[in-house]
Amino acid sequence: MRLRLVPDNTNINFFKLAPVTFGASAILFVASVVLFFVMGLNFGIDFRGGTTIRTESTTAIDIGEYRAALTPLNLGDVSITEVFDPTFGENKHVSMIRIQAQEGQESMSPEAVQSVEDALKALDPAITFPSVESVGPKVSGELIQTAIISVLAALVAIVFYIWLRFEWQFAIGAVVALIHDVGLTIGIFALFQIKFDLAIIAALLTIVGYSINDTVVVFDRARENLRKYKTLPLIEVLNKSTNETLSRTVMTSGTTLIALIALLTLGGDVIRGFVFAITWGIVVGTYSSVYVAKNVVLMLGVKRDWSKPDANAGTRFADIDA
């Protein structure tokens, strides 16, 4: 007996609930934008400069004591959080200390780092410092710029490619879906105040890549069906295409999510934020390729005049037929 996540020959009308799903997407997107501006993102040192010190100890951590030990050092804004992780052993207590960028310094001076370490060692002799990272304001400013450029570059490159391979309506549909995915991911990071650093940008780009992957598969089928069923209304062509590819969409998202959930639970706390972003993005990306991208294509409409046999020959550079 084979496992079938999606029964054969589904005929779900994905547009039946279009106002609800599309509306929900729109509301969530707006909510994300609002969250981004109201709560802001919990930027890591990559983007706002400063120093993070990871501490590890065999004795339990009292954040209040840590704070009291560090206050006399006058380091400005210091945040201390304890890190919990199922992979930690019983006697492993980890905390992350973040110290703001120091006035007039790029990266934090070794003396200042040493004074922090000494203060904590006085409190807990068993403490160790597995990682110390310091980023100056100059670099963090540039990293923000690079991050924004890379996300925009990815979006532009993908839109351009889709536009070459498909019709422009598809490109718009794809990019709306991508912006939706990126927006919702940023929204959840703002909502839960998860640390947003350079790795999350990499995650955003991966989401962009993955989501477009899903969307393209549906579009590719739609393109094929548009030629096959020349008189079928666009809405039904799109519906049919989605149904035909639904099994694949669910399968691929399923295997990817299985792998990611393993990483999320067992991969350790260092990359948890990164893996969480990708996992969330894949859920949202799968949803958007089914419910968002097509709706946009439907709204824009596609030229169905196939009287000229090669109407779009000039815009397709790689008609593969191997």
């Binding site: 790029e106 990682s131 990272e133 450029i149 890549g209 993955y210 067992l266 350790g268």
Partner: protein, 553 residues
Amino acid sequence: MLQIDRWKRVLIWLVCFAFAVLAVPNLFYARVEAHNDAVVAIETKGATPEREAAVAAWPNWMPSGLVNLGLDLRGGAHLLAEVKVEDVYQQRMLGLWPEVRSALVLERDTVGFVNTAPGPEGELHVKISKPEGMAKALEVVRGLARPIQSLSGIGSTDIEVSGQGDTLVIRLSDAEKQATDDRTVKQALEIVRRRIDAVGTREPTIQRQGADRILIQVPGIGSAAELKAIIGTTAQLTFNPVVSRVTDKNTAPGTGNKLVPSIDEEGVYYIIEAAPVVTGEELNDAQPSFDQNGRPAVNFRFNTSGARKFGDYTRDNIGQPFAIVLDNEVISAPVIQSHIPGGSGIITGRFTVEESTNLAVLLRAGALPAELTFLEERTIGPELGQDSIDAGKVAAAVGSGAVVLFMAATYGMFGWIANIALLLNIAMMFGVLSLIGGTLTLPGIAGIVLTVGMAVDANVLIFERIREELKTARGPARAIELGYERALSSILDSNITTFMTAVILFALGSGPVRGFAITLGLGILTSVFTAFFVTRLIIVMWFERKRPKTIEV
């Protein structure tokens, strides 16, 4: 029908086999690493029984390329330094003053007396007592300018001279500044490299980044502070007259003198004159060598001015001891036996061969041309890296296992074929990474796990398509053929777009993020390869043998 030429089959299997073999060393990481280190050590430092044994532990006919582990997995320090290139402008201007003065002195009748005036950093301000001679002064000083080669055009010179009232303002031209900056950064890079190499750490990355930055990554080092200490070591070598030799460290040295410890004799201190006779700045060359008793030593040679000072001092102080002082420690305090006119000499002490080599390197490297500001520092402890590797391994194993079961449950025999492809995929990724010397980082491990999830995508697309074609096509052979044919455009479109994002990540990202981009991009390439060639070949071979009337996908 389903036909693949024999040579193609052989080629496909050969490619798979080759990459799988290339991946094998990574299964024996520690052993191969020891082997590689020992091979290098024997080449440079000679053979010892332990090194021979380490070499023998891994067969030479096997590939020995390994995946580099990034700093976040291996532990180590990362520094991003900015070279303060402006420092050099000031030095250049100071160096120009004597030349300007002598040139203007010749025209004293027209320009009067000349003197420096205070000006901003990087500019030379020269006051002349007869402002009416400014035109002549400008002409004379401009005559000192040297033409430079630059892309911006012919006719540019190294300095710009302008007159403001009775003051000449001399500064470096923009083209010269650019050229100077470039030289300064290259020089700083070289010195940093020599200092780190001198300490002999493994596989340091020392790269120029942008116009005036240097990226330094040294695996295995304890902390960024330690790394900074190595880079910051100036190896200040001085030759000072010795006043006396004492064993009490509380001896008052007296004015103009200072007390420094001996580097190799415990409890021995020297009182030396604080003003050195000659300094290491005036060294032209330093080479490791051996003294007449065959003990390791360092030969050195001064430049012309250093040689003159050294020669004069040795001529006047025969029979007196003088101290060779390195970073405020006396290496040795020999007695001057004779006049040393040539400016070359030898430093002896209780060195090992390694120490004398390091000292020579440090002396040769000299001081950094400009100050370094550190913009970014990261230290990752080796335990944290090891934890990450362990967690990554477990997660990858569990994730792959779950995906394999899921595929088998969904597609039956075809699922197992996809699973074979999946394993090949991972092997090939490691093979390629080893071949190109790629770096595996923690996000890179995430990239591999993500690839495991996504790698089956191409096969899923094909299998789903075959399922569909089975409903309409005549016979299973035709269905398989059509399935591959029609899934191709989807697979290419979707993977090309993902690949583009990987390329963008690689181009704009750095360090760990770049490691992610590498594994993501590689994963896409290998998964497309295995889906199109390997699973197809396996299916065709199975089909040829069984000739089934119906198939179930």
